[in-house]
């Protein structure tokens, strides 16, 4: 292990880490913000829009992100749309992350007791309030573990952007290695950086979870009146 060699390239690696972190955070935020309202569409009663959405998620989850990125990077200019590489990366990564997040949120929402939704409707509570204040808070503990592991997949997935010249961690590591022919130190360092970023994601998610699920038990517990009565 040659620490001097590593120290020489560390600043470059750190710059690349910044790119990876920004790409991850932007993709994560965009895909979450877009997927949240979409996950609600047609959940109670399927409609044409939700059918189209199902088709979209099926497509996006089947097609490799790499292919999606290539499509936008090389394909869009044919259609007269030239986007900077970073924008292409964000669009491509977000599209596939949206597809996964929609499914993840839906699985949580489906676990929420429909009786409570009905009670809320009978009270005349506006629909968006039912989602925001009743359904999502109870779906959260259900979908959060899957959401978190998907977030780490997004982090790792940003390495795909190396293929369209984005100077993120994987791309830069490869470049250094191809210059120096000394792969060991650089690859260890970049692996460790990914671990640290992934750990940071987990910590943030755990904090969010603690904050949002106060007072809620492990899941949306359904009432078991007979058991309650004898307890």
């Amino acid at each position: 292990m040659d620490l001097n060699y590593l120290a020489e390239y560390l600043p470059v690696l750190m710059d690349a880490t910044k790119v990876t972190a920004i790409l991850t955070v932007v993709t994560l935020i965009l895909s979450t913000v877009i997927a949240l309202p979409l996950s609600v569409v047609g959940l109670r009663k399927p409609n044409a829009f939700s059918a189209a959405l199902d088709l979209f998620t099926l497509f996006m989850r089947s097609i490799p992100t790499l292919v999606v990125l290539f499509f936008f990077y090389y394909g869009m200019p044919y259609l007269g749309l030239v986007l900077p590489a970073f924008a292409v990366a964000v669009v491509g990564l977000t599209l596939s992350a949206v597809a996964y997040n929609i499914e993840i949120f839906r699985s949580g929402l489906r676990a929420v007791d429909p009786g409570q939704i009905e009670a809320a409707e009978a009270l005349g509570i506006p629909r968006w309030r039912i989602w925001v204040n009743i359904a999502f808070p109870q779906a959260m503990p259900v979908f959060l573990p899957t959401y978190l592991s998907n977030a780490t997949l997004i982090l790792k997935g940003t390495s795909v952007a190396s293929i369209i010249t984005i100077p993120e961690l994987t791309a830069v590591s490869n470049e250094i290695v191809s210059l120096t022919y000394q792969p060991f130190e650089i690859l260890i360092a970049s692996a460790l950086i990914y671990v640290v970023l992934g750990g940071a994601l987990s910590l943030i998610a755990a904090a969010v979870r603690r904050h949002l699920t106060r007072g809620l038990s492990a899941g949306p517990v359904r009432s078991a009146p007979a058991m309650k009565a004898s307890a």
Partner: protein, 265 residues
């Protein structure tokens, strides 16, 4: 202008009818669950709906606040047509925002309580009035405290549903519905999920409510409650009202055979 027409059609019910169901039909695929039910409930009246399993009691009750949309007929509550509005000489389904307003006149209590499990008792009771703007936050809170006190759970304001017994949950569910100041309360087997002792504390609250003049439609298997509290008992069979009358009549020896057979078990 068509004002004259819209004012007289569809014809509103007599003012003393708090609820009026006109020819309510409900089809699930080929199965006709409700076969043109007519029912009027007077202001301050308590009507008990009884009948065999599958006769359509729950379905009829759910039509009153349009949780289930009837295939045909009219539902009137508090002088307003529920879930529909006249458009060009025909009745059309009302949009969601309008239906929501119609629902403010009815409160519903479910067999499974259906309290919001992510909210404590106080939030359960205040959430609907706050999110629909039924008064200032101060008023809403004061009213909620009063209601929770009234159902005997003033000491449980900060408890979550999973920390309450079934009977306590159901009493909070009643308080939650009352917090919207409805004109009619609908109960669907409100005590069926409860042990007799817990059922009694819920029935006491309902009895009190009836005595105070609330208009109530109560689907129940509690014949004792129907006999003592109801002003009128409606017996349903196969999607129709087979018989209705004061408890003294429905529960008498002279009632038709099939009713006496139903009551025997």
């Amino acid at each position: 202008m068509t004002e004259a027409k819209t004012a007289s059609w569809p014809t509103p019910p007599a003012p003393e009818h708090m609820v009026e169901l006109r020819g309510i039909v409900l089809n699930y695929h080929k199965l006709q669950v409700l076969k043109g039910v007519n029912l009027a409930v007077h202001k301050g009246e308590t009507v008990a709906i009884i009948g065999p399993s599958g006769s359509g009691k729950t379905t009829l009750l759910r039509c009153i606040n349009y949780l289930t949309q009837p295939s045909g007929g009219e539902v009137w509550v508090g002088g307003h047509l529920v879930g529909q509005r006249p458009v060009g000489g025909r009745l059309r389904p009302a949009p969601d925002s309008v239906l929501r307003r119609h629902r403010l006149d009815t409160g519903m209590v479910f067999q499974q309580f259906n309290l919001f499990r992510n909210m404590n008792v106080l939030d359960n009771v205040t959430f609907a009035p706050l999110s629909t703007g039924r008064g200032s936050p101060g008023e809403i809170r004061a009213r909620a405290l009063q209601l929770v006190e009234r159902v005997g759970l003033g000491h449980k304001l900060n408890a979550f549903p999973n920390e309450l017994s079934g009977g306590q949950q159901q009493r909070i569910a009643i308080a939650r519905a009352l917090a919207m100041q409805p004109k009619v309360m609908l109960f669907d087997e409100a005590t069926s999920a409860l042990d007799p002792e817990l059922a009694r504390e819920v029935l006491d609250v309902m009895r009190e409510l009836a005595r105070e003049g609330m208009t109530m439609v109560v689907v129940t298997h509690e014949m004792g409650f129907a006999r003592e509290v109801a002003d009128r008992v409606v017996f349903m069979e196969r999607g129709e009202i087979a018989l209705q009358g004061p408890p003294s009549q429905v529960f008498s020896d002279k009632a038709p055979d099939r009713i006496r057979r139903f009551l025997q078990h």
